[in-house]
């Protein structure tokens, strides 16, 4: 091989690998739980809360900022075991000067909780690996070969190998989406509004410490080691969930582990009564908190951090404006949620006086419906100034000949019907209804979707604001 051939061969290989890599990047699953984190400016977060969906539903960074002056972010993925948490911490440290890591201990319950390990592995494989390509991701891929039950070949997690069949569903978003520009004002929090009445779990009497899954312990050791190496503080927490009595033994082991290493361990699950947490009102299902429960937990955590790590509390920050804006949006969602779960009339009255909302409505083209539509609006307290039927904007009727798009909402009509879709989905009743969507200009998304049913003369709610944030995975 002469020099020219060598250069030619290297150039070709580089080109081929680059094209394959770029295709893998285009085709990969973009629905990462960490996109919001990637989108924030560098060195603007002091604390990260790391773990599974328990973190997503349990901690509200907006509350931590608004009430305690802590710039925090939830760095989570669904069904995240602790060996993945280790790599998520590594990922978080890449761009932020993290001073405190709050690590949720549910990942340590692997093999001992109500969730089957194989199921945890499956969900984890499906969702946790959509992080940026790099050494950390490569190392994370190696864990699938020897951590957990459903062991995999790490090669399967190479983007192009994993997603090469995406050519069947090529879409514009593949080429336009940038997961470093997908801000999330919830900062990793997933609002849950449903209330599920759960029995408070019972602790085991005379429980003895029991060591968790050995690989989980190995990675917990690595996280502790990393905290020393990188100089961040660690807090272990455990959000309330319906645990087995036998899990009390793991709690005891973790308590001892934390005590030996002088790491605080706040076990909300076992000591829920201390913070006035009520399993009957504060849970959204057996594993996750609704936002009322989350507020309680977050306030307790905020106070604990304020008392023990005062250096993290910085109300005057460079990015104060952005943090305030995000918090404002979160509290706006809370207030909307309060109104829509208690009395719609209040909500519609509020909407009538609020210029930051847009109401869209669609009705089938039958002319007899026009009057019914007007009746529906009247019933809802919406004042119409024209008798068109395709849409209403800022209380002023506007006819639309072209499809109208606003954020995740689209309004369009064909010869006989008008359609209203949210996130591409067309919700409708049996056809004898008027569809409404409320678009929030502050939140830049549809916050409420419902239809008025002529037959039953009632409002049918299709979507709470909570669901717009994605909701709990499983």
């Amino acid at each position: 091989m002469n020099k020219k051939q060598f250069i030619s061969f290297i150039c070709f290989c580089t080109l081929a690998i680059s094209i394959i890599f770029a295709t893998g990047q285009l085709f990969r699953d973009k629905s990462t739980t960490i996109a919001g984190y990637y989108s924030i400016p560098d060195n603007t977060v002091d604390a990260v809360i790391v773990g599974s969906s328990h973190v997503n539903s349990g901690y509200i960074p907006a509350v931590l900022w608004q009430e305690y002056g802590i710039s925090a972010y939830n760095v989570y993925s669904w069904s995240q075991p602790v060996w993945i948490s280790y790599h998520y911490i590594e990922e978080a440290l890449k761009t932020q000067d993290i001073k405190l890591v709050v690590l949720d201990m549910y990942g340590m319950m692997y093999g001992n909780s109500h969730e089957q390990p194989v199921e945890i592995d499956k969900v984890n494989y499906r969702n946790s690996f959509s992080i940026d390509v790099g050494i950390n991701r490569w190392k994370m891929m190696q864990t699938v070969a020897d951590c957990g039950i459903d062991l995999k070949d790490p090669v399967e997690f190479i983007n192009i190998i994993r997603y090469h069949t995406a050519w069947k569903n090529i879409n514009k978003e593949m080429f336009t989406y940038n997961n470093h520009n997908d801000p999330d004002f919830f900062r990793g929090y997933g609002l849950q509004t449903n209330v599920d009445v759960i029995d408070a779990p019972e602790k085991m009497v005379d429980a003895q410490p029991k060591m968790p899954y050995d690989i989980a312990v190995k990675y917990l050791d690595k996280i502790v080691e990393l905290s020393h190496k990188k100089g961040f503080e660690l807090i272990f927490t455990l959000t309330p969930y319906q645990f087995y009595p036998s899990e009390t033994e793991i709690f005891l082991w973790l308590e001892n582990y934390a005590k030996e290493r002088e790491i605080p361990f706040i076990n909300y699950a076992a000591n829920y009564a201390d913070i006035d947490f009520d399993y009957a009102t504060d849970m959204t299902d057996m594993s996750h908190l609704n936002y009322k429960g989350a507020i309680k937990i977050t306030n307790y955590l905020g106070q604990f951090i304020t008392d023990n790590y005062p250096e993290i509390v910085k109300k005057d920050r460079n990015n104060k404006v952005e943090l305030d804006a995000d918090a404002k949006k979160v509290y706006r969602v809370f207030s909307v949620n309060e109104m829509t779960t208690s009395d719609y009339n209040n909500y519609f009255e509020y909407l009538s006086n609020d210029n930051e909302h847009v109401l869209f409505a669609a009705i089938s083209g039958d002319s007899t419906y026009t009057q019914q539509f007007a009746d529906a609006c009247k019933k809802l307290g919406i004042i119409l100034t024209s008798d068109g039927f395709t849409g209403v904007k800022d209380s002023q009727w506007k006819q639309f000949s072209e499809p109208l798009k606003m954020g995740d909402m689209e309004l369009y009509a064909d010869q006989s019907n008008a359609y209203l879709t949210v996130k591409g989905m067309d919700y409708h009743g049996d056809g004898k209804d008027v569809k409404f969507a409320i678009y929030d200009k502050v939140l830049e998304r549809t916050t409420f979707y419902f239809y008025y049913d002529y037959n039953t003369d009632s409002i049918v709610i299709k979507d709470y604001p909570a669901k717009i944030n994605g909701g709990i995975y499983d």
């Binding site: 002469n2 061969f9 081929a16 394959i20 295709t23 399967e156 190998i161 090469h164 050519w167 069947k168």
Partner: protein, 521 residues
């Protein structure tokens, strides 16, 4: 370590680098290490039998050669003192010794092959025999034939034996060909393995191109059609007529793409080290008769069976006597054809047995043997018929007819090959001919067999590419043509090929990597 795994590609490139950077004197040792590691990668326990086979090959070939030499020396030293009768006795004595050595070798290796392939099947039917937990050595059918050919050549004084046991081991387990061939001859393969060579860029790139083409056939075509074939053959009672025909045609294409794809990867991988293996396919679906088909399909097996079974049997004393017997009675036809039929029967029976443990494989062999015998018998009558009907047997139309006829007959044979047993094969063939439902070709039936429309379209386009390349190869080798193009065109073609494999290949999570079909043999 499958050829289609990333692990194999890394392994291969690593050893290519090591091979060309090591001193030339010990290059062959690098190949041996690679082969041992490759085989151990498939299963550590499996390596024991192949090593023993290699050792017995080395021992037997050298013993036979020693006995040849001893005989030669003894006769030359006692040239004058020995009478003609004494010389004959000595020759017979040595021949018997050599024959005994050969018999021991064949008993061990062929016996091993039979035990691994047929023992448990026999034990199932004869309850007296206990079932054994045997781990079949991968590629046992291929390397056993290869070493038998080598030992036979030494026995027949066509080849010199290899004195080094390790070199014999390398010849036995040369990793690109050990699992599914091609079956190479010692005289052509061994010198290449032990040759001292420098890196040749042309060979290297051409080897990679061949591998690329192999991966395309295996991953884009063969593995894509696995779903359809499995659906059809698993639920064969639900299908009939053209539905079965579609399945059989798709399976025939799948089998070809799978086997020839694997061979292309093997040949390409071997070429990276400068070792050229024999071709195993020569556009078999353009054959105009079954006998031509077998000269173009699995050519190295055909060559082995011809040289080591057909010719020795045909020229054996009993068949010669039989021919003479008919000849004396002026039964010219019998004298000419009956020994040939017997030889062909034995050849195709052996071919069937070689393919696998089920009776369907024997039927498969005999089906092809039978077609060849029928062809041989009726060919003269057919010629006369064509002349009478004024059919131009050399016209393009007639050639197309012949090709289509051969393809159809091969396709029926593949039903026997693919079916798990003879009754299922017979059921499918019968139901293919007893139902007339050509509309299934147009009513979207193929999309109900497990492949969605985009996947099926990709499969069809890939088959068209396969056909075009086959036609192109008739005039010149596609990869050589690609390699001669200007850099931008060459790169564009190569990148398109790589991306088509990467995007349209069937692999990754959610897919169970389909082993090569001939891997099981």
């Amino acid at each position: 370590m499958l050829f289609t795994s990333l692990e194999f590609v890394v392994f291969l490139l690593f050893f290519v680098i090591v091979y060309y950077t090591f001193p030339k004197k010990i290059q062959w040792l690098v190949l041996l290490c690679a082969s041992l590691l490759f085989y151990a990668g498939i299963g550590r326990r499996r390596i024991v039998f192949i090593c023993i086979s290699a050792i017995t090959t080395w021992a037997c070939t050298n013993l036979i050669y020693i006995k040849h030499s001893e005989e030669k020396n003894y006769l030359s030293q006692n040239k004058r003192s020995l009478s003609k009768e004494e010389k004959a006795v000595i020759k017979k004595k040595y021949k018997n010794i050599r024959r005994s050595i050969l018999a021991v070798f064949l008993m061990f290796n062929l016996g091993g092959l039979f035990v691994f392939k047929f023992y448990n099947m026999t034990a199932e039917s004869i309850s007296v025999l206990p079932k054994l937990n045997l781990i079949m050595p991968i590629g046992v059918s291929f390397y056993t034939l290869q070493i038998i050919g080598y030992v036979m050549d030494v026995y027949n004084k066509k080849s010199q034996p290899e004195k080094s046991m390790l070199k014999t081991m390398l010849f036995t387990m040369w990793f690109p060909q050990v699992i599914q061939g091609p079956i190479a001859r010692y005289d052509s393969l061994a010198p290449q393995l032990f040759e001292r060579r420098s890196f040749n860029y042309d060979n290297f790139v051409l080897g990679l191109l061949r591998m690329l083409w192999g991966y395309f056939k295996k991953l884009v075509i063969a593995d894509r059609f696995v779903v359809i074939v499995t659906t059809l053959f698993s639920n064969y009672t639900q299908y009939s007529g053209f539905e079965i025909l579609i399945g059989a045609i798709i399976y025939t294409i799948q089998l070809y793409a799978d086997f020839s794809g694997g061979i292309d990867i093997a040949l390409g991988a071997s070429e990276l080290f400068g070792v050229v293996l024999p071709e195993n396919f020569n556009r078999p679906f353009f054959s105009k008769s079954i006998s031509e088909f077998w000269r173009r399909w699995h050519m190295t097996l055909g060559g082995f069976l011809r040289d080591y079974i057909f010719y020795p049997v045909t020229l054996s004393k009993p068949l010669s006597k039989l021919a003479k017997f008919f000849s004396k009675r002026k039964l010219k036809w019998c004298s000419r054809w009956i020994p040939a039929y017997i030889s062909l029967f034995i050849l195709w029976f052996c071919s069937g047995v070689w393919h696998g443990e089920g009776a369907q494989y024997i039927l498969y062999g005999l089906y092809h043997g039978g077609l060849i015998m029928l062809g041989m018998t009726f060919e003269p009558h057919f010629e006369i018929l064509c002349e009478k009907l004024k059919i131009n047997r050399f016209s393009q139309t007639f050639k197309v007819f012949q090709v289509a006829r051969t393809f159809f007959l091969v396709t029926i044979g593949e039903i026997i090959f693919r079916a798990p047993n003879i009754p299922q094969a017979m059921y499918m063939i019968k139901s293919m001919f007893t139902t007339f439902n050509p509309w299934v070709l147009f009513d979207g039936f193929v999309f109900t067999l497990g492949l969605d429309v985009p996947d099926f379209v990709v499969g069809v386009v890939a088959v068209i590419i396969l056909l075009v390349v086959s036609l192109f190869n008739r005039y010149q080798s596609m990869r050589h043509w690609v390699y001669r193009q200007e850099l931008p065109i060459r790169w564009a073609i190569c990148l398109a090929a790589i991306m088509s494999i990467v995007l349209f290949g069937v692999y990754g999570p959610g897919y169970d990597p389909a082993p090569f079909i001939y891997f099981q043999f």
